[in-house]
């Protein structure tokens, strides 16, 4: 019998459940290691070598090197763990969250100042809100190719 996962039809959202957590175990534990200053230094000195000390998948390592947080999440990362990479890079939570939308930092900040992203059209996959797959990436990044 399959488990109940009613959250799979929410657009632009990956719920960090037990399955994702298993998938991302080493990725997230690598992130935790960055809470120690000496590990942050070693990581910054040679990212690839530091990542190779961890039994992560090659894809997870590539996602970290690319600083592509959406990609990290698809491979099992969780935002509170991934935030340790952001902290190592000197990034705020707002910069990290914004980076996953395709918006520039200014665009994302302006959206928040204007009251945030509306839930309208963003509750179920298949609606037409700005978080739906067919409307990515958002902001200036999305307009470039249009």
């Amino acid at each position: 019998m399959s488990l109940e996962k009613p959250y799979l039809d929410v657009p632009g959202t990956i719920i960090f459940d037990a399955e994702q957590s298993r998938k991302g175990y080493w990725l997230n534990q690598f992130c935790m290691s960055l809470m120690k200053a000496e590990n942050r230094e070693r990581f910054k000195a040679d990212e690839r070598a530091y990542l190779d000390e961890w039994p992560m998948t090659e894809e997870q390592k590539q996602a970290v090197l690319a600083r592509d947080l959406n990609w990290c999440m698809r491979t099992g990362g969780n935002i509170y763990f991934l935030a340790k990479i952001g902290a190592t890079d000197g990034k705020s939570f707002q910069q990290m969250a914004g980076s996953m939308t395709g918006m520039t930092e200014d665009e994302y900040r302006a959206m928040m100042m204007a009251g945030g992203r509306s839930p309208e059209g963003n509750r179920y996959i298949g609606e037409d809100g700005d978080a739906q797959a067919h409307r990515q990436p958002q902001g200036a990044a999305g307009k470039k190719g249009a």
Binding site: Q29, M73, Y80, G86, F93, Q94, M112, G116
Partner: protein, 284 residues
């Protein structure tokens, strides 16, 4: 005997802590938010508790994926503010209340809630930001604090109903402690926010305020809100609101007493990625 006299509810956004620590509270971006806590800081002075029972969540700080306790009670004598990657916040250490904490642990476990007991942990912004919002920047926090950490990071998190029932068990536990203590229970986290994916930045002012109305006036119905409603309506991290129901469940009206007095209610968007909600309820 010990008694819960009030409950406090507030968001615990890390950027709020940074704004306080970097002396930015009077900047135009932050000023309206801190204005909403002016009443509360005075209220804390006028209604000083002996102990704060502080419900919060750890954000991959004390608990990595090594251990993921659903409900963890801190029974230590003290706790250090954690280094979350930006260096520890420059705030006082948190002094615990081991006697009351151990008493609550024993009583609540005997009421069928299987708590994890923690004797050593650092506390992150989830616990220290609410203290800063309510107490400002003192040399020492005004009273001992019992940290109570809830897993809301890895799904499934506990249901609102379970949290509400746990609050009721905590009230009974506190009231069976012999020493006369004035105890506050705080529920923290939320309100609507999503920190991930293409839907990052979601805010739902209408839903948040309807949920607040219900939390205050009809907590039994509020506790029945299913997980998926929080995710869909208030964002993937909006699920933190289940922690408010622990504090709400500990109020006297839930056990047949009089309705609490609404001393303060405040709502503001945005603090970084998040909608900030804040309520103070007093037992009559």
């Amino acid at each position: 005997m010990a008694k819960i006299t009030a409950s406090v509810y507030t968001s615990h956004v890390p950027a709020i802590g940074a704004a306080i620590d970097l002396d930015k509270t009077q900047e135009p971006y932050w000023q309206p938010l801190f204005q909403g806590y002016e009443f509360s800081k005075q209220w804390m002075k006028d209604n000083k508790p002996d102990v704060i029972f502080l419900v919060y969540n750890d954000h991959a700080t004390a608990f990595s994926l090594d251990f993921i306790p659903t409900f963890a009670i801190g029974t230590a004598a003290e706790y250090q503010p954690a280094d979350e990657g930006w260096g520890p916040r420059p705030v006082p250490k948190v002094v615990g209340h081991p006697e009351l904490a151990s008493h609550i642990a024993q009583s609540v476990i005997q009421q069928d809630f299987d708590l994890t007991i923690v004797n050593k942990m650092d506390v992150d912004h989830g616990l220290t930001v609410p203290l800063s919002l309510m107490c400002g920047q003192p040399e020492a926090w005004p009273c001992p604090v019992i940290p109570f950490a809830v897993n809301v990071v890895q799904y499934p998190v506990p249901s609102g109903r379970r949290c509400f029932q746990l609050g009721q068990a905590i009230r009974k536990a506190v009231e069976s402690f012999d020493e006369d203590l004035n105890v506050h229970i705080w529920g923290t986290g939320g309100m609507s926010h999503q920190l991930q994916g293409a839907r990052a930045g979601l805010i739902n002012r209408e839903w948040d305020n309807a949920w607040l109305d219900k939390m205050i006036n009809d907590p039994v119905a509020c506790a029945d809100t299913p997980h998926i409603d929080y995710v869909r309506e208030a964002g993937s991290e909006g699920i933190e609101l289940v922690m408010w129901l622990i504090a709400r469940g500990a109020m006297a009206d839930v056990a047949g007493g009089p309705k609490p007095k609404l001393a303060h209610r405040f709502y503001h968007v945005p603090a970084s990625n998040t909608a900030v909600g804040h309520v103070i309820l007093e037992n009559q």
